[in-house]
Symmetry: C2
Subunit: 358 residues, 2 copies
């Protein structure tokens, strides 16, 4: 067990922006919420599953919405604790800990704010260690753990409890409700025992996020050799350095979709195309897939190594495209059918970034 | 208390078609479901609130969907009992009776089928005594009774419990879910005590429906003076006799919408235009509103007095347009803000059909 301090939160927000893979909502909004909640309710403890009663109840807390809307309408706050309380009430059991569903983007930090207010620790684990656009895209789904019963609460206090036969249906119903709830809502789902978290969660993902942010922060401070150390730590690769020459973004059916086209800085005949569905999902060069989901595509500012999200992309930006391998827990039967390229409509094979030459 | 017999069901289905005001889904599908349930589980008792414990729990059962979809995909059945059981489970209390939310269209008979299977009586009351396209359009809403907690169950066994701050939000969320649930689902809502039904329901609406069907049946058999007796019973008016010369129907945002244009049989310069949103809502002649919601617009076949629904409308049909006054319980503060013409987007005043010259 260890207490989060403010420096941790800064690194976590930076790491979460990177793990957001361009999406997942702005972690700095979540950082503000977490700081405010910690100042009001006291510090949050980060714990390992082994520190808790194996039979204790754990619930995840997250926001659901399109990132493009979040910018204009940040989450209010009560909907997240509201969601956790509604689910606990429905289950008739008090949770012993809160857990993020995705460590990547805004949903990394929202659980901290909710946990502070509820006086509960946060488990150092999640089910993505990146952001994904749909709630069934978790290692929990691969383990057969149901997302439902799932609660959904909006800022006006409307509460919905969803119990579905599959996590895919839970996503479909939640997405439709989210649109009617003003394009954003708090959700609490994947309730399970501490023992199940230990078995099926991605362990240490909160700590990983803080460490990753710290490494990137060293790059941003211009420390010697920091970029290589950052890539070494994450086992990542810089695959492209270029200038953004085309950009198309649109919000459809509750998702932010788009395409970004990058021309190589040194060889303008080389073109990289990156496809967006809330997150950067596929990077192609000359029609050939270079980074493929579930591996992470990160776009960094070429000058200051600041992560660029789908909303902060702009014409003319000079950027580095970095591929990070997904958490090793993803590599199990069913991964490609749940989060592989074809799930998102791309006719391409998954090709791991790990162990490849840059 | 009285037992429903098969003749009652025939008259009820005919009366429910009329009270459907062109929409509400085909009551003959509901009649089949009711007959089948009664043959399997035994007869259904129709009761007055005074015959039950005033503190007993009553829940309504209904289907939600666009009528145009119902034709191609009739409801399966388990979703209705499923909805009632899910709500009872959520409330932690057993209901003493089932009640229709709307006596008009398919939802008149669905509660009978559910009640037979559950071994419960059906209360001779409802909250519309006609069909309306949205679930908040009830006398219960006028009385401040909340539609939620509301259950929603699809044929695959997905269950949603909705608790909203207003009945309008319940409608919005349920409509969005319905689309994702394959354009149809069972719902159970407006749970209340028997005493509340006695105070705020439209009393005797099931019996009224049977009686109305019986009067129309006499017209269809060609009994002398039957049409006048039918109009006298319902305090209705025949306002137009004509031929359908134009017809536009479309399904948008979970509703069946459209317009039907009728040319007068004797004076082709007279044109009636009827506007549809699941039901016939407004009848205009020369731009002047003739029958206005919440009064009922019924279109009858000119030759055989068969009620014509929005789905069975056809070019060239010779029809009578009949206006029936809405149930007297509607006439209370808030009616026009809930079910008046402007709610549906028509810039016209409500003008009661009652007491007007034909």
């Amino acid at each position: 067990m260890r207490e989060l301090n403010l420096a941790d939160l800064d690194d976590m927000a930076l790491g979460a922006t990177l793990l957001g893979a361009g999406g997942g909502g702005d972690p700095y909004i979540g950082r503000l919420m977490a700081v405010q909640a910690i100042e009001t309710y006291g510090a949050v403890q980060i714990v390992e599953p082994s520190e808790l009663d194996p039979d204790g109840l754990v619930v995840t807390v997250a926001g659901i919405g399109a990132p493009t809307v979040l910018i204009e309408k940040p989450p209010a706050g009560p909907e997240f604790v509201g969601a956790a309380l509604a689910l606990a009430k429905y289950l008739g059991k008090e949770p012993v800990a809160i857990m993020p569903i995705e460590v990547g983007g805004l949903n990394t930090l929202i659980p901290l704010a909710a946990a502070a207010e509820m006086g509960l620790p946060v488990i150092d684990a999640d089910s993505m260690r990146r952001a994904f656009p749909q709630i069934e895209m978790t290692t929990f789904t691969l383990a057969g753990i149901t997302a439902s019963p799932m609660s959904m609460v909006d800022i006006n206090g409307n509460v919905v409890i969803i119990s579905t036969t599959t996590n895919q249906v839970a996503e479909k119903l939640a997405r439709a409700l989210m649109i009617e709830m003003g394009m954003g809502a708090g959700i609490s789902l994947y309730s399970m025992s501490v023992a199940e978290v230990a078995k099926h969660g991605i362990q240490g993902s909160m700590s990983y996020c803080v460490d990753l942010g710290r490494k990137l922060s060293a790059v941003q401070r211009g420390e010697h050799g920091a970029f290589d150390k950052f890539l070494d730590f994450a086992e990542g690769k810089r695959v492209f350095s270029g200038k953004i020459i085309d950009l198309d973004r649109r919000t459809t059916a509750g998702f932010a979709r788009g395409t970004v086209v990058i021309e190589h800085l040194e060889d303008p005949t080389r073109i990289m195309r990156i496809e967006i569905q809330n997150e950067f999902l596929m990077a192609f060069e000359d029609g050939k897939p270079i980074i493929t989901t579930p591996d992470l595509i990160c776009i960094l500012d070429h000058e200051n190594a600041g992560p660029i999200t789908t909303e902060t992309l702009a014409f003319g930006q000079r950027v580095d495209v970095v591929g990070l391998p997904c958490a090793p827990e993803w590599h199990q039967p069913g991964m490609l059918e749940l989060v592989g390229p074809r799930v998102f409509g791309y006719d391409a094979e998954y090709r791991s970034i790990k162990g490849r030459n840059a």
